[in-house]
């Protein structure tokens, strides 16, 4: 368990306290569950950060015909040793 100090707006804390009271949980327990649910939702949401850059890289390589050895991706350790 990690202990950190957070500030909550008064109204948010009031809602959280009310929720905890209604569901018979402690405020800490209710807070942990909300954080967990929120993170799970975010995790399954579609954000695709950085993903388009991969496609852009491929499009540029095709547009300008960037060519290297056929086995560069599979033998990159060996090529790295030669390059170093």
């Amino acid at each position: 368990m990690i202990q950190r100090k957070f500030y909550l707006p008064d109204d948010l804390y009031a809602q959280l306290s009310m929720h905890a009271k209604i569901t018979g949980k402690t405020i800490t327990q209710a807070l942990r569950e909300f954080v967990d649910e929120g993170l799970q939702r975010k995790k399954h949401g579609k954000q695709a950060r950085g993903a388009k850059a991969l496609l852009e890289l491929a499009h540029l390589a095709q547009k300008y015909a960037w060519k290297g050895p056929k086995n560069l991706s599979t033998k990159h350790d060996a090529y790295f040793a030669k390059s170093a």
């Binding site: 995790k43 399954h44 949401g45 579609k46 954000q47 695709a48 950060r49 950085g50 993903a51 388009k52 850059a53 991969l54 496609l55 852009e56 890289l57 491929a58 540029l60 390589a61 095709q62 300008y64 015909a65 960037w66 060519k67 290297g68 050895p69 056929k70 086995n71 560069l72 991706s73 599979t74 990159h76 350790d77 090529y79 790295f80 030669k82 390059s83 170093a84």
Partner: protein, 140 residues
């Protein structure tokens, strides 16, 4: 969902001659379509830049690094803990094919709890990681 991208995939995308180029492009399209967030380690960028520069061209490598680092990809900080853990994992490796770069990827993947590694390297599967490519290309 989150995925960490390895050097071989970047090289596959960057090199139209590469045997994995078409598969890498298919993967990149699937990553976008699936809404996967991409994480790239600074060590991966370094490995990619050296190989891309020496085998394809310095200007092209610089261009590629610029595209990647100015995108909204999620950078991963190499912390002291990641370095120590990666070094410890590297000590356990039995093959010269398993590089310290790979160890950084595996340790970071565990620490940030990613769902997939985007790579063609089956070695990651042997270590218990899920390759984005295999799972998705087989099922699509």
């Amino acid at each position: 969902m989150n995925a960490i991208v390895d050097t071989d995939t970047l090289l596959g995308l960057f090199n139209v001659n590469d045997i994995h180029h078409s598969k890498a492009v298919t993967l990149a399209k699937l990553v976008v379509k699936s809404g996967i967030n991409i994480f790239i380690l600074p060590t991966t960028l370094c490995e990619f830049a050296l190989l891309a520069s020496s085998r394809i061209g310095a200007k092209q490598a610089q261009y590629a690094i610029s595209i990647l680092t100015t995108s909204d990809y999620v950078p991963v900080d190499i912390t002291e803990e990641i370095v120590k853990e990666s070094a410890a994992l590297y000590e356990q490796q039995s093959s010269k094919e398993e590089s310290l770069f790979d160890c950084f990827v595996m340790v970071a993947a565990k620490r940030i709890n990613v769902d997939y590694i985007v790579s063609f390297d089956k070695g990651y599967e042997k270590r218990g990681f899920t390759l984005f490519g295999n799972l998705h290309i087989k099922s699509n």
